[in-house]
């Protein structure tokens, strides 16, 4: 307490060197406990399968020292930055207004840039692939945002709907030969159907209970995919999934392919570019629908549900159907994304649909600022892009990444875009501070 309110304590509660050192010492102790096994001892399977291990006490010591020094620096920064302890309160008003103007143009600028990515980076396959990956997560983030950000229902098993979408397309196309454009809506419908099925039993649950049950549901779907060998192919997955076509025109070399029809030389990049615009269109569709839904009674009811469920019931809102529609809508977008994933990879297996994916998408939504479309897009870019950026750091990648997450959550506890935009206004749309907006309880 005293550390976060140095201005008000005014010497009555000393924020002295002793306090800072004590805190740093405690942090270092925790770090020692955590890292002694993670970093201090390295184990590996030897050539004949025996356990081999060696110690790395040097690394351990330097890490603990880093935590110690880091803790002192953080405390000093807090002291220096003032009572709120956040950088946000330290930014002068002129810079803040500049930021808000930049914010207004950020979304359109980002959109235009995204459209131009395949043109600018036409020859850089790596960037195009990364762009597709980021957009997939933007779409998943926007889909989950309906459930978590708008309706305030904590869903830890979102990957289940992604899997349902992917397997719907994979199986329908390989067994019945249906085309991508027919399977896409089917994948969405099937995922939404599963969303409703999941929704029914969990509707009565709130908070932690809902989180646990959705988590379990995600795992159940994965286990079914692994064990229902006859249909899903088990751990081997589904392979040979057809690539998407431009409304029936395949993007292949030779006769009948798009390149031949246009009279241009074939290049495998065509398909990558096509996939890029495909996922961009799907993501934008998700965004457009979500923005519209927010302004419709159903979207307002979702947000009202997040704010106060009891008041909703008193106003005649059917909580059950409202929650179910949120689940189904979020699941449907997850299903679309899954179908895209399947057609892009050409091969799917249960390994792609682990809890880690759910956690990643949820992290994107939380980091973005629950409920904010722009925030989610930025968070997906930062998370997936950041992941790639730190690739060169190899073993320390996760560590650096975790540290970055912690720093962002200290700086902006309510996410990158922390305020809420009203869905309707009379005179002037005033954005609502995140302190007032509830996070939901279910």
């Amino acid at each position: 307490m005293s550390a976060s309110h140095p201005a008000s304590s005014n010497g009555s509660e000393p924020v002295g060197a002793a306090f800072i050192l004590k805190k740093a010492f405690l942090s270092a102790l925790v770090a020692l406990g955590l890292f002694s096994l993670m970093i201090g001892v390295r184990t590996e399977a030897g050539q004949s399968g025996q356990l081999e291990y060696w110690t790395r006490f040097g690394d351990l010591a330097s890490l603990v020292a880093a935590v110690f020094v880091g803790s002192i620096i953080v405390e000093l920064l807090r002291l220096w930055l003032g009572p709120r302890g956040g950088l946000g309160s330290f930014v002068p008003p002129s810079v803040q207004s500049g930021l808000s103007i930049a914010g207004r143009y950020l979304a359109p600028a980002l959109l235009i840039f995204t459209f131009l990515v395949p043109v600018i980076f036409y020859n850089q396959r790596y960037i195009l692939d990364l762009g597709i990956l980021v957009l997939t997560y933007v779409m998943l983030g926007w889909g989950l945002n309906v459930v978590v950000g708008l309706a305030g229902l904590l869903d830890l098993g979102y990957v289940a709907f992604y899997a349902v979408g992917a397997y719907s397309y994979g199986l329908l196309s390989t067994t019945f030969g249906l085309s991508f454009w027919i399977c896409l809506p089917l994948a969405g419908i099937l995922a939404a159907f599963w969303g409703v099925l999941l929704g029914f039993p969990v509707l009565r649950l709130r908070g932690d209970y809902l989180a646990i049950v959705t988590l379990a549901f995600g795992e159940i779907i994965r286990l079914v995919l692994i064990n229902w060998q006859d249909v899903t192919g088990g751990p081997n997955g589904v392979s040979g999934i057809p690539r998407p076509t431009l409304f029936g025109i395949p993007l292949t070399p030779g006769e009948g392919g798009l390149a031949a029809m246009l009279g241009i030389p074939f290049s495998p990049t065509h398909r990558i570019v096509f996939l890029f615009y495909l996922i961009l269109a799907l993501a934008l569709l998700t965004n457009w629908v979500t923005i519209r839904l927010r302004r419709l009674p159903i979207g307002r009811a979702w947000e009202a549900l997040r704010e106060d469920e009891v008041a909703c019931r008193a106003l005649g809102i059917n909580i059950t159907t409202t929650k179910l529609t949120a689940f189904a809508t979020g699941a449907m977008f997850g299903g679309f994304a899954g179908a895209f994933f399947a057609t892009r990879q050409g091969f799917i297996s249960p390994e792609s649909f682990t809890f880690q994916e759910s956690a990643l998408v949820l992290a994107i939504v939380v980091l973005g600022g629950m409920g904010s479309q722009l925030g989610v897009a930025l968070a997906a870019l930062a998370m997936i892009g950041g992941f790639e950026l730190f690739r060169s750091l190899e073993v320390y990648r996760m560590l650096v990444f975790g540290l970055a997450m912690v720093l962002i959550m200290i700086w902006r506890p309510r996410g990158i875009v922390g305020h809420r935009a009203p869905t309707v206004f009379l005179e002037k749309s005033k954005s609502i501070s995140s302190d007032l907006v509830k996070e939901g309880h279910g």
Binding site: P297, E307, E427
Partner: protein, 277 residues
Amino acid sequence: MSSAPILALENLTMRFGGIVAVNALSFTAQRKQITALIGPNGAGKTTVFNCITGFYKPTSGIIRLTHDDGAQYEMQKLRDFNISKQAKVARTFQNIRLFPGMTALENLMVAQHNALMRASGFTVLGLLGVPSWRAAEQSAIDAAVFWLKRVGLIDRADDAAGNLAYGDQRRLEIARAMCTGPALLCLDEPAAGLNARESAALSELLLSIRSDHGTSILLIEHDMSVVMEISDRVVVMDYGVKIAEGTPREIRDDPKVIAAYLGTDEEEAAAVMEAEA
């Protein structure tokens, strides 16, 4: 118009484990009148409201509502949201329950959810943005503006409800309840925490809701000046049972009521009154 009372409670009992919060309570609220429900703290008033509005399922008893056209509803049989949707009963809460992160205008739009849902073709027509939906949305905004003006909050329409002053939040909650188009409005201590000027404005607002909109009102209130000024009938509860019922004048002079409020027994209260007179 139906001659039956708008609301009739018959032997309403609500038990929580060993506690009998409401015990065989019967009373009626007349159409287009203001009926006050008063009683000391813990008498069971809010519990009665929660039974009427479906938040509690009564242990036994009947809560019957009769619309102007004679349509009857038994609240203990309706699902919670249908009490607002079909039976047209709106309520406010003892501890204000607005949507704090939504603007005042949005709060009033959420209150018109069911009408707007129908108008938006259960979202399909709304997504397509058909003209009939746009017209319905505009008329919902107009209704919200009407009520914002009526409670003096039109200047705060675009502000977050959580940012409003306490008294403003109370009035916004009443406006939100009225936006559901209720036949019966249940208010749980609407004057709590208001200053004298705000209480007077509240009395005026409630009287106009009754006379201009023909809405019947059931009112829980501790502020006796408000109760005496505006209510047509008063029902007094203590320990879950009705101890008196009558006009505000009759209630004011009833020794049983005074005894309940003073926490003394009846003879003593009567003696006090005689001494005063």
